[in-house]
């Protein structure tokens, strides 16, 4: 009878997917890479994300999921100061990266982005050749030795080498969307960042290209730390070790902002979430 009661409290996940995740070590044994405390992100006086407190662990894939408009992209762009480019943007709170608060104004955003790379929602290769797309970043950032080996390695890691090795001089814009996105990933990892942020990297791609990108995240996480925004729950379930669920909160006078509802091991989020809103979202009753 006890077993039957447990059955009734366990949520039947609608998302049943094969996972590549290995068993997670306990959280206290993991090394923190980001320690985010009470982060508020504000566009033109209106809060986009309020009071986010979470940690991101080294060599794990961390997924940010949630409905449209919950501030997932805003949040991930805070992690490498990409929002600095938006004039009306302000933020409060702290983001410690290896113990250093990278939000401080005396920290150079260029140095932050040098360590924390980014792959964007839409593929954005430079209008240069395939080779130069990967080589340019290295050249500008002063990586001068074994350039060709590094290019081959980055393209191989991004699962693109076999498709482009015979036409490295061709324009990057002649590649398909999925290939362009993998080229952008190769470009990002060729300069050897510490963290790679991915803002819905597969949203414009077909399932095969999506699978290639998920595989490369899985294969590379021993070298890098990935934070990925996705609106695709199956994707989060497949690739992420930790999952953060963001949702939209409503205040008076039509105000709305995103907030972190629940952050836990992916397994837990998808099978036994502790918040009703997470449960509604992952079981497909909302969003």
């Amino acid at each position: 009878m006890e077993g039957a009661e447990e059955m009734s409290t366990t949520i039947e996940p609608t998302v049943r997917v094969e996972t590549r995740r290995q068993p997670m070590p306990p959280r206290e044994r993991l090394e923190q890479i980001f320690d985010i405390q009470h982060l508020d992100a504000i566009y033109g006086g209106k809060p986009a994300v309020k009071d986010v407190t979470m940690e991101v662990y080294k060599h794990l894939v961390t997924a940010i999921i949630g409905p449209s408009g919950c501030g997932k992209s805003t949040f991930i762009r805070c992690l490498n100061r990409m929002n600095d480019l938006i004039p009306s943007f302000t933020q409060t709170g702290t983001i410690r990266y290896h113990g250093t608060d990278i939000c401080r104004s005396d920290i150079d955003a260029v140095a932050v982005r040098r360590n924390i790379g980014m792959v964007f929602q839409r593929p954005n290769p430079f209008p240069k050749s395939i080779h130069d797309n990967v080589a340019w970043g290295m050249k500008v950032l002063g990586i001068k030795d074994n350039v060709n080996e590094r290019i081959e390695r980055a393209l191989t890691q991004a699962a693109l080498w076999d498709e482009v090795k015979d036409r490295l001089k061709a324009s990057a814009l002649s590649l398909s969307g999925g290939q362009q996105q993998r080229l952008c990933i190769a470009r990002a990892i060729a300069v050897e960042p510490d963290v790679v942020l991915m803002d819905e990297p597969a949203s414009a791609l077909d399932p095969i290209a999506t699978q290639a990108i998920e595989e490369l995240m899985h294969n590379l996480k021993s070298e890098y730390t990935f934070v990925i925004v996705t609106h695709n729950m199956q994707q989060a379930a497949r690739v992420a070790d930790m999952t953060a669920f963001f949702s939209i909160s409503h205040g008076g006078e039509g105000q709305r902002w995103g907030e972190l509802v629940e952050y836990d091991a992916t397994e837990k989020i998808f099978t036994a979430p502790s918040d009703k809103r997470t449960e509604d979202y992952v079981t497909g009753r909302f969003g």
């Binding site: 990409m82 480019l85 209008p127 470009r187």
Partner: protein, 297 residues
């Protein structure tokens, strides 16, 4: 209540005849307006060509004018063509770097209030009458120093500056932000992103704007009357002296009592007009090519 007409096919038609008539009327009005614009250019080109072509020969471009000539010795306006080349080249050298840097600053680096303010100032500068610029440069450089090609070039540069920077700003705004983000996301500095990613994307467009600005100021007369018009008849490449220019020469010849002078003025006007037309066509060609390149092919 609106009346409902029904055609033989059973389709509902509410006042279809009237709407069709209004449509035809507006379409014809737009056509007529377009024709008027084309006709004006056509008449100008035709009348300049009709009077200018007969007097057009190599002597016009290679021989200097001979003042109060009583013989039928061949003469031309070489001094004016050389003067215009020198003055416009110097003006371009002055206006181009400043104009492009202003545009880069405003589009890539300036905070929004500064960008809006300076953009408005550039638009006002663009609207300042050329003769006012002439008087300004006259007061600045010519009083006490005398006229010079430099002063003329500076006056034309003042006219070119807003043209170059505004057109460059528009081209820079066309460069997709995703490219800037791609570079900045790698940890590349802002200036390097601008230099290596944004500018190569816009070279063609910047060139187009520059050619149009050159075509525009090459025909300016008013500022040069003040600052570079008391000239001899000998060809000179030295901008420290006052230099003759094509528009000023046309103006002066038009006041001469000699019909041969009038003919040469028409011929010079034809050459100037052709230069401007060809430069504009060239700029259009560059712009199309550049747009194709920006689209990625």
């Amino acid at each position: 209540m609106s009346t409902q007409e029904v055609t033989g096919h059973g389709l509902r038609v509410d006042g279809l005849g009237r709407r069709k008539a209004v449509n035809r009327l507006m379409e014809s009005l737009a056509w007529v307006a377009a024709l008027i614009a084309i006709a004006i250019l056509g008449v100008v080109v035709f009348s300049v060509a009709r009077r200018g072509l007969p007097a057009l020969n190599l002597d016009l471009l290679t021989k200097d004018p001979i003042p109060f000539s009583l013989t039928n010795q061949p003469q031309g306006l070489a001094n004016a063509f050389v003067g215009t080349i020198v003055i416009v080249s110097l003006a371009t050298l002055m206006a181009l770097p400043v104009g492009i840097l202003v545009a880069i600053y405003l589009n890539e680096f300036a905070p929004a209030p500064i960008r809006n303010g300076v953009t408005m100032i550039l638009d006002i500068l663009n609207g300042v009458p050329a003769i006012v610029i002439g008087i300004f440069v006259f007061g600045l450089f010519v009083v006490g120093h005398g006229q010079s090609g430099w002063a003329g070039a500076f006056a034309l540069a003042c006219l070119m500056l807003p043209l170059v920077s505004r057109s460059t700003m528009e081209i820079l705004a066309l460069v997709p932000n995703s490219l800037r983000e791609a570079s900045l996301g790698l940890g590349v500095a802002r200036w390097r992103t601008t230099l290596s990613i944004v500018l190569p994307q816009s070279v063609g467009g910047i060139l187009t704007g520059t050619v149009l600005a050159i075509a525009r100021v090459a025909g300016e007369t008013a500022p040069l009357l003040f600052v570079s018009s008391f000239v001899g008849t000998k060809t000179s490449w030295n901008p420290l002296h006052a230099l003759q220019s094509v528009p000023v020469a046309i103006f002066e010849l038009s006041e001469s009592p000699d019909p041969a002078d009038h003919a040469r003025a028409w011929a010079a006007a034809f050459v100037l007009l052709m230069f401007i037309l060809l430069a504009s066509l060239g700029a259009r060609w560059l712009a199309t090519r550049n747009r194709r390149k920006m689209m990625g092919r």
